[in-house]
């Protein structure tokens, strides 16, 4: 008789270790592939699991086998019209009559394509990236504690008394302690009822029973309802919550000169930045500002999807950022970061103002500020003004992006993890 066994509940993913080893071994190739994969994606698809392809030649397992050439005679199926002596052109390799070749080497020339889970994908994507200088103020900060539940304890303050738990142990104790008496009591009562019905309640036997019953009742009642032993208190412990108190300001230019492709680049940049922040940091505030001639703080939806547009006054955004810092994010308590994307085409005379706001109030307040100029053939006037900011402030970075594929490297470069 054959054995039939249900193995479906057994562990799956037996080869998880092997997959991890594969990923570990080819991490460099995979990382390049991940960066490339995101470069070509639609904005709405940036966040998500990823299909990754790496060249077969990088991961092939070499074997001794015959290469093309020499003399070989092969048997094939499906002849329709050929007779002996017919001859014909050599088909391009891999197709038709040359089919043996592909099976010889075991693999074709296509890239090796596979899927990474979303987590793995993002991990590769944002590996080696970090907000610079985040630790600086965290150390100075008083650590924040959070109370978390941690089971029950047998002592504590009355306000933390847990009634349900206490009653549960009280009940258990009483059941345990009274059980033998109550059994006896039931028997005696039955006997008493019996005697009374037959001999009346004044017979000596009935009186004796009544006495004993009273005695037992007293004993049962003597068992305390709640003892100190039963008390249970909800336990809470203080858990230190290391918190990088950080805020990121995202400043996006949506002026008329930002055409669709530039807006697209800017949005991509912020989308990736946003993903990176969300993936790597548990708590970070985001302040989203869009501006044309005037600046406005907006929510995520408006930031990424609103269509309103106009002229350009870059300084409006910087001013707003400055106001918000003064209002809500005291530089002594917060790690402040800024990222600004613009095509650099600014209203005449505004660029020096931008420079001044940055130099005088923003740069001293922030940990890091990154400026990205998108898709302009020549550096614009804003770029030139910002160069002088860069000279004086090492925590100011600037980069230019011409096409989508450059976004990831630039982002990576701007927020590269610095060696400790």
């Amino acid at each position: 008789m054959s054995a039939i066994i249900d193995r479906r509940q057994n562990g799956k993913n037996k080869s998880a270790i092997n997959q991890q080893r594969f990923i570990k071994r080819y991490r460099d190739q995979i990382r390049r592939a991940v960066a490339k994969a995101v470069g070509g994606r639609k904005i709405t698809d940036i966040d998500g699991s990823g299909q990754v392809s790496i060249p077969v030649k990088d991961i092939s397992e070499p074997l001794f086998h015959h290469g093309p050439g020499g003399r070989r005679e092969m048997v094939h199926p499906g002849n329709r019209e050929f007779v002996v002596g017919d001859n014909f052109e050599r088909p391009p390799s891999g197709a038709g009559g040359g089919g043996s070749r592909a099976s010889d080497s075991g693999e074709g020339e296509d890239d090796f394509v596979f899927n990474l889970s979303r987590e793995e994908f993002l991990k590769f994507f944002f590996e080696d990236m970090a907000l610079p200088d985040l630790a600086k103020r965290r150390l100075a900060q008083i650590p924040e504690f959070r109370k978390v539940r941690a089971g029950y304890s047998i002592d504590g303050t009355p306000s933390n008394l847990n009634v349900i738990r206490t009653m549960r142990s009280s009940l258990g104790r009483r059941i345990a302690l009274t059980a033998p008496y109550r059994k006896q009591l039931r028997e005696l009562e039955a006997e008493y009822a019996d005697i009374v019905s037959r001999e009346g309640d004044t017979s000596p036997r009935a009186l004796a029973l009544a006495h004993e019953i009273t005695h037992l009742r007293t004993r049962v009642e003597a068992i305390p309802y709640i003892e100190k032993l039963d008390l249970r208190y909800s336990n809470r412990i203080m858990q230190p919550r290391p918190q990088a108190q950080a805020v990121m300001f995202c400043l996006m230019d949506v002026s008329g000169s930002m055409d669709q492709s530039r807006k697209d680049l800017a949005k991509r940049f912020f989308m990736l930045l946003y993903l990176f922040l969300r993936h790597n940091y548990e708590r970070i505030d985001l302040v989203l500002i869009r501006h044309h001639t005037t600046a406005k703080e907006v929510n995520e939806d408006d930031f990424f999807y609103a269509r309103e547009s106009g002229g350009t006054v870059v300084s409006s955004a910087l001013k707003l950022m400055n106001d918000i810092i003064a209002d809500r994010y005291s530089p002594s308590d917060w790690n402040i970061y800024g990222a600004q994307v613009s095509d650099g085409d600014n209203w005449d005379g505004d660029s020096p103002i931008c420079r001044d706001i940055l130099m005088q109030s923003i740069m001293p307040a922030v940990q890091y500020f990154a400026y990205v100029e998108v898709a302009s053939a020549e550096p614009q006037n804003l770029w030139n003004e910002y160069l002088s900011v860069k000279q004086q402030h090492p925590n100011f970075a600037m980069q230019r992006i011409m096409e989508a594929a450059e976004i990831y490297p630039v982002l990576h470069d701007l927020f590269k993890k610095k060696a400790a």
Partner: protein
């Protein structure tokens, strides 16, 4: 009699009833099998099993992860169906059935794997001679534990690099003529220590660097380097089992590394019969699922719907695209093997004049006995040589094409007609001869007293060159050997030439010893 089932859902009870009937029919046909162990698994588990070539226990290696990722993707995107079953040559014979299969497919699979493949494993001479079905699972367990231990002691990376090199030479790690010792967990563990010490002693002896002065004192005047003249060449004979040669003789391998080389070699040996009997083994299993399920239908145990679904699946399995189809990738072993076994049965039951002329021994004989004989005593090459009939050649419209790189055009050399039958049969048999398919490469010489270099000799046949990837393989050879490796090519006119040299890479990444 009532149908066993009418719906397509399977249950354990139904599987049991089908299995019972299939076992009865199989035994009526005199199929002799190991006991069966049938395991129901999920698609995901099937992917896992795929990745490790179906081994129930495998050591860890990135290449299995790679295979998993590629088949997972193919499966999820619907580009590839999963095999309905995987079966393992062990005793008991383990077959996996997928949970997703319909009842019909489960029945097909049981007939195919648990009675077809199983009886082949138990009966075919190659499997009988070369594999120990009783011991393989134990041995796999030993191998996995040993390799895990090595990873802990010597580092994952050095084990991985060693395995990479061994895998590259896996096809050159088999004995073609000598029966291997039986594998077993207990013996392996007991002998392994002993082997380590003994081997290391042997190697030290081989690589003794002090010349034997006493022996050569008298000859010194003749001006010859005494070490070069009268020592016999090493190895005495060319060695075709490269992994075995390295296990025993590579000067720099540590004992644990020799053990790992041995493990890979043992696995290669275990799979060697499978590689030589693809057409037969699949053909046999396909023939039996077909025959057994037809019998179920004849006995009215299954209904028409069952049969339709079965035939649909069966037809897919034995589909053979023509040479000019975009789906063509060589002969389908299922199609060829099934056609041949069906044809043998036909020759027995209803022989034609042609059959009596071509196969007088077979024509009109008892088909069950003849099939059993064919299954037991052949491998693909000799099976085709012996049993491929003109009818099958005609049915499949086989023809042969000569591709000579000296000619600008391809030429048809034989087709399915009277003058072509023998030629095609001969040629097709050779096509399944592993020693023709794989380049002939052997260890020719080791420079014992000079630079310790090793020379591999590639004897070309039909002027076929090595694929370019040979340079990468030679790096693996050099890694195992520890010194320079040279490749000597022997051309068809007898001329030989050193064609490549690989020095041991100094970069740490490639070095074997950490």
């Amino acid at each position: 009699m009532a149908y066993i089932s009418t719906g397509s859902e399977w249950t354990f009870e139904l599987i049991q009833r089908y299995e019972h009937e299939i076992a009865r029919i199989a035994s009526d046909f005199k199929l002799d099998t190991y006991p069966n162990q049938i395991e129901i698994i999920t698609a995901e588990q099937m992917l896992d099993a795929y990745a490790t070539v179906g081994l129930p226990i495998g050591y860890h290696h990135w290449s299995y992860g790679k295979h998993f990722l590629s088949s997972e993707r193919g499966y999820k995107r619907g580009q590839m169906g999963l095999a309905y079953e995987i079966v393992i040559n062990s005793n008991p014979c383990i077959a996996y059935l997928m949970e997703e299969n319909s009842m019909t497919m489960q029945a097909l699979t049981i007939a195919h794997a648990s009675y077809g493949h199983n009886s082949f494993f138990k009966g075919n001479y190659l499997f009988r001679t070369w594999t120990s079905a009783d011991a393989i699972v134990d041995y796999l367990l030993f191998a996995r534990n040993y390799i895990t231990e090595c990873e802990q002691r010597y580092g994952e990376q050095s084990v991985e690099l060693l395995l990479d090199s061994c895998h590259a030479l896996m096809n050159y790690g088999v004995d073609r003529y000598k029966r291997p010792k039986r594998l077993s967990l207990a013996q392996e563990q007991a002998r392994q220590k002993e082997r380590e010490n003994y081997l290391q002693m042997q190697i030290n002896d081989l690589w003794r660097t002090l010349p034997n002065h006493a022996l050569h004192d008298d000859d010194e005047d003749d001006g010859l380097d005494p070490t070069e003249s009268d020592e016999p060449p090493f190895p005495g004979e060319p060695q075709e089992n490269l992994l075995y040669f390295f296990e025993k003789n590579a000067p720099k391998l540590a004992p644990w590394q020799r053990e790992i080389v041995r493990i890979v070699r043992k696995l290669a040996q275990y799979f060697y019969p499978q590689r030589q009997t693809k057409v037969m083994n699949e053909g046999w299993a396909t023939f039996w699922h077909y025959t057994i399920l037809q019998q179920l239908y004849k006995e009215k145990l299954v209904n028409d719907a069952f049969m339709m679904e079965f035939l649909h699946a069966h037809t897919n399995v034995v589909y053979q695209p023509s040479f000019d189809s975009p789906y063509y990738s060589g002969l389908n072993p299922y199609a060829l093997g099934f056609a041949m076994f069906q044809d043998i049965r036909r020759m027995c039951e209803a022989p034609t004049e042609e059959d009596r002329l071509w196969a007088p021994d077979i024509a009109g004989s008892d088909w069950v006995k003849t099939l059993d004989f064919a299954m037991r005593n052949f491998k693909d090459e000799s099976f085709i040589q012996q049993f491929l009939s003109p009818k099958v050649i005609r049915d499949l419209k086989l023809f042969s094409v000569l591709d000579d790189d000296r000619d600008s055009r391809l030429r048809v050399t034989a087709i399915h007609n009277d003058s072509g039958y023998r030629e095609i049969r001969e040629m097709l048999a050779q096509q399944y001869n592993l020693s023709q398919l794989e380049p002939n490469i052997q260890v020719a010489h080791v420079d014992l007293h000079g630079d310790r270099s090793l020379t591999l000799r590639h004897v070309q046949s039909e002027r076929k060159p090595l694929d370019d990837s040979f340079e990468e393989v030679l790096k693996h050879v050099a890694r195992l050997w520890g010194f320079t490796v040279r490749l000597e090519t022997v051309f068809e006119d007898g001329r030989s030439e050193m064609t490549h040299e690989t020095k041991v890479e100094k970069r740490r990444r490639y070095a074997l010893s950490a």
